[in-house]
Structure formats: structure tokens, C-alpha cells
Amino acid sequence: MAASHSDAGTRRDFLYVASGAIGGVAAAAVAWPLVDQMNPSAAALALASSEIDIGSVQPGQQIIYKWRGQPLFVRRRTPAEIAAAKDVDVKSLPDPLARNRAKPDATPATDAERTVKPEWLVLVGVCTHLGCTPSVSTPQIPEGQYGGWLCHCHGSDYDISGRIRKGPAPENLAVPPYSFLTDTRIKVG
């Protein structure tokens, strides 16, 4: 076509840029719902925190509940187990951090920082290596060398406070945020 006059060209360029910019905004605005729809739905979020009755767990026993689709270990420890858990030099641990989601990141991995009440140990039952569920160790059927849990996938060995002691796992088993509603009922999440 015939060459435009320069001022007309400028105005035309401006309108192009404006159209393109608004089109870009529109595309971004449309993209967000299409991305966000893959996030957990309102129904999934409603189950993000759940209340669990732990009254039936006997001393020395562990029961696995389900929380956010993952196993939740609730272990009622004996006095001997609590003593063993406390009698550890935190500095010597492969992962010296508490990994308690209710506490600051730098909290040391003492047993007290990983529990609300010493008798109850509540853990997310997901091996921090590649996501398998570790097997619990009991006096009858021992697993691993530290009396806690052993992950059979790649041999990560956790102690009676859920801290990694040996094997490829980089972190201690995570402690979810939870609180006691009554002596035997906890709210997780």
C-alpha cells in the first residue's frame, strides 16, 4: 500500500501497541482460571484440616490415619522410648533441624521440639527421600537399628523421634501442625 504519512504512522503504531497490550492482558486474565483450576478444589481444601480421635492408641503402639491423602503416624510412646528419644546429641544428627511445621525453620531437632506432649509422636508418614511409607519398629518386629521406622524402599533408618539416622533420606520425618482439642482428640492441619 501507499506509504503512510509519518504522523499517521505514529498514531497507527500507538494503536497497534495498545491493542497488543490489551490483548496480552486479556490472555493473561484468561490463563489464570485455566491454571488455577488444577489447584486443590474447595472440597479438597475443606479436608486440609481434620480432627482425629487418638484415644484407642495403646502405649507402644502406632496407628496410621489418613491426612490430606497421606499417611499420618500417631505413636504413643512408652517412658523408655521417650527417654531414648531425648538421649541424643542433636549436633551429631544427619539433619539437626526439627522439621516441625508449627515451628520456625531453624528449630533444633530435639525431641521436645518435635512433640506437643512427649507421650504422643505425630508424624507425616512420608519418607523424605522419595516418598515411600516407612515401616514402624516394635519390640516384637524390629525394623532398623534405631527403634523408630525403616523405609524399605532405600533403607532410610529413623529413630524413635522420627529423625533420620542412616540412609539416603535428607530430612527428618515431618511433624504436621496439630493441637490437642482434648486429651485424646487432636486437630491436624
Binding site: M1, Y16, S19, W32, S41, A42
Partner: protein
């Protein structure tokens, strides 16, 4: 008209790519420099709008399939979970549901435009026939999609449409059973319909590719229906038609958004918010609006097999239009007689749609609608098989302009350089 390529690679990477996979050249030649008649009007923007509609349906459909469960027990509630719990699920689902209606609205305008301006005539017969194929695929896709929410209308619509096949002599019942995968519409039917509903849009996209390819050989027809004779008759597609299509597309999207946000169930049927119940048929089974004219034809014929044949013939007829039109002139703008028959045809299609929406035994001012539908059906077929060939022979067209440029620019055309 597609002529030699004007693409001129400048940078090194463009040259390198051009010798190996000339994708930039293809884009340039088809979407940028493509010489387009300078007189295309608003009705020619619907090709772009239809491409947009297909894109919207595919994107929202893929997203919905992430949440939908194709199971007779769970489908209805999974759709409601999308509406209630999935982030923006209500928006995506309403866009998809109304998008189907907007898609058909656009395709009908596109088809009537083609009929009016004679866009099916040589050398564009294949563009038209491929278009009819796209339309057929769209109807199938829409039908499968309407079944998926598994409401009452989904279920009974599927039952009625699949039962059409049982009218085929001898093997009809076996075909119906084969379509259902059971002895009635059920779990198996729902699962295969979901599979096909997901597949067909990609086939449509491929056939749309052929449609556009075929269009780019002779180039666009135009409202005058005369051939492009000189470069002055055309403008490059970009920026002239990119900006024009974009403007009208946004107007179309405003209408679309009006339905989605302020009347999302306008095209819907209340019965489809009742979960499918194989034991109770709703009192009035009505297909979606875009299928109503064909439904009216089906019901206007008292014999089952014949009704199905008439309905099928109504669509198959479209394929023969390029050879049924005997006129030397393409555009109805220069065909005073045919123009009137054309508008009568548009009215007849709307009347058929209205008849299809009413109850079988409905009357208007004492006239049974079934007879209205019968006469309208007759006109539908007469328009293509009688009026088109005869009027083309007896009609004296108006004088055609010398060229597109002269028609648009008048005296400004062909100035001395």
C-alpha cells in the same frame, strides 16, 4: 491468487529455518501477505470467529476433562463438583456449554453468508464440501458432549438419537445395540461418547486445516462475487483483516460473555439439572436449538424410516449445492430473483427451528405446526433441488461492476502512477 511467495527471510535464523522447515514462510504467506479482496464485509469475519470458537471449546474441554468422571453413577455429580468446588470450574463449564451454542450461531451465519454470496461456486466447491463435513462433525461432537452431564435431557436425547438408527431395515436394531454397547443407553454408551467427544474436535481442527488450505488456493470470494483481476483489488491480510477480524471478534466475545455471566442457562434445558433416570422420560424431549430444524423435519414425516431419510437428506443435499446452482453470477447482490428466494429460505429455517421446539401436536392460530413443518421442509428441499437450478437459468442478473477496486474506490481506482 496464492501466487509466488513474497516472504523474504532477513535474519540468519530465518534463512536457516526457511531452508529446512519453512514455517515462517507459511505463516507469512497465509496470515500476513495473503492478498485478500478489499471489499469483504462483516459477514466475512466469521471464519476467524469460528476458529476462535474451536480453540475455546478445545481448551475448556481439555480442562473440564481433568475433573469430569465418565461414569453413569458419578458423571452428574462430577459436573456439579466442577460447578461448585473446582477453582473457576463454574466459569470454565459455562464457557464450554455456551461456547457450543456460540459456535453454531457463528457457523450458521458463516454458511448463510456462503449461500448468499455464492461462495460454493467454482473454483471453491471443495471449500464448501469440506465445510459441510466440518458442520457434520460439529453436530456429532455437540451431540456426544450434550450426553456427558448425564442429566435427563442428556440421557433421553441420546436414547432418541441413537434410536434413529434402529429405523434402518434388517440391521437397524443391531446397529443401535452396537452403538449403545448394551441393551439401552448406559454406562458403556457414556464412556464411548466421552471418548469420541474428546477425539472429534481434533479431527475438526485437522479438517479446518484442509478448509483453510483449500481457501488459500483460489483465495476469498467477496460480496460482489467477481474474481480478483489486479493487485489493486486486494489488500494484504495483515493488517487490514487481522485488525478487522479482531474488532468483530471482540464484539462477538461481548455477546458470548453476556450469556456466560448473565444468563448461563439461556440455551439450556431445566430437565438437564435432573440426574438421568432410565425409568422416567421427561414430558418434552427437545434437542439443543441448533439441531431443531432437522428435528422438525424428522417429526413432520409420519413414517419412521422416511423421517430419518429426510433428515439425513437435508444435510447430504448441502454437498451438491455447487452443481445445483446454474447461475453464471455468484453473488445474490446481482440476482434480484434469487435474493428473494434466499431470504425466504432463511425464514423457513427459522420456522423449522420454531416448529422443532414446540410440542408435536401444537397449533398456531388453528394451524397444526406439523403441517407448517411439512411445508417448510418441502421448501427447504425445493430451494436446492428446484429453485437453484431453475432460477439460475431463467434469471437475468444485474450488471456486474468492472472490478472490485472500481466498485470500492470509484474514480480513485487505477490512478496514473
Amino acid at each position: 491468487m496464492s501466487g509466488p511467495s513474497t516472504y523474504n527471510p532477513t535474519s540468519g535464523i530465518e534463512k536457516w529455518l526457511d531452508q529446512r522447515l519453512p514455517l515462517p514462510r507459511l505463516m507469512h504467506d497465509t496470515m500476513s501477505s495473503f492478498p485478500t479482496p478489499r471489499n469483504l464485509n462483516i459477514w466475512y469475519t466469521f471464519g476467524g470467529i469460528l476458529t476462535f470458537c474451536l480453540g475455546v471449546q478445545i481448551v475448556t474441554g481439555i480442562v473440564l476433562a481433568m475433573h469430569y468422571v465418565a461414569s453413569a453413577d458419578l458423571a452428574f455429580n462430577s459436573v456439579e463438583a466442577i460447578m461448585r468446588d473446582v477453582n473457576y470450574g463454574w466459569l470454565i463449564r459455562y464457557v464450554h456449554a455456551n461456547g457450543a451454542s456460540m459456535f453454531f450461531l457463528a457457523v450458521y451465519i458463516h454458511m448463510f453468508r456462503g449461500l448468499y454470496y455464492g461462495s460454493y461456486k467454482a473454483p471453491r466447491e471443495l471449500i464448501w464440501i469440506i465445510g459441510v463435513l466440518i458442520y457434520l462433525l460439529m453436530m456429532m461432537t455437540a451431540f456426544f458432549g450434550y450426553v456427558l452431564p448425564w442429566g435427563q435431557m442428556s440421557f433421553w436425547g441420546a436414547t432418541v438419537i441413537t434410536n434413529l438408527f434402529s429405523s434402518i431395515p434388517v440391521v437397524g436394531h443391531d446397529i443401535a445395540i452396537w452403538l449403545w454397547g448394551d441393551f439401552a443407553v448406559g454406562e458403556a454408551t457414556l464412556n464411548r461418547f466421552f471418548s469420541l467427544h474428546y477425539l472429534l474436535p481434533f479431527i475438526i481442527a485437522a479438517v479446518v486445516g484442509l478448509h483453510i488450505w483449500a481457501l488459500h488456493v483460489p483465495g476469498n470470494n467477496n460480496p460482489l462475487g467477481i474474481d480478483v483481476k489486479s493487485p489493486q483489488d486486494t489488500v494484504p491480510f495483515h493488517p487490514y483483516y487481522t485488525v478487522k477480524d479482531a474488532f468483530y471478534l471482540i464484539l462477538f466475545v461481548i455477546l458470548f460473555a453476556g450469556f456466560v455471566f448473565f444468563s448461563p442457562d439461556f440455551f439450556g434445558n431445566p430437565d438437564n439439572y435432573i440426574p438421568a433416570n432410565p425409568l422416567v422420560t421427561p414430558p418434552d424431549i427437545v434437542p439443543e436449538w441448533y439441531l431443531l430444524p432437522f428435528y422438525a423435519m424428522l417429526r413432520s414425516v409420519p413414517q419412521k424410516l422416511l423421517g430419518v431419510i429426510v433428515m439425513g437428506a437435508a444435510i447430504v443435499t448441502l454437498v451438491f449445492i455447487p452443481w445445483l446452482d446454474t447461475s453464471r453470477v455468484r453473488s445474490c447482490r446481482f440476482r434480484p430473483l434469487m435474493k428473494q428466494f434466499f431470504w425466504a429460505f432463511v425464514v423457513v429455517c427459522v420456522v423449522l427451528g420454531y416448529c422443532g421446539h414446540q410440542a408435536v401436536d401444537a397449533e398456531v392460530a388453528g394451524v397444526p405446526l406439523v403441517w407448517v413443518a411439512r411445508i417448510a421442509t418441502l421448501y427447504y428441499f425445493a430451494y436446492f433441488w428446484l429453485i437453484m437450478p431453475i432460477v439460475g437459468l431463467i434469471e437475468t442478473p444485474k450488471k456486474l461492476p468492472a472490478s472490485i477496486a472500481q466498485s470500492v474506490l470509484g474514480d480513485k481506482a487505477a490512478p496514473a502512477e
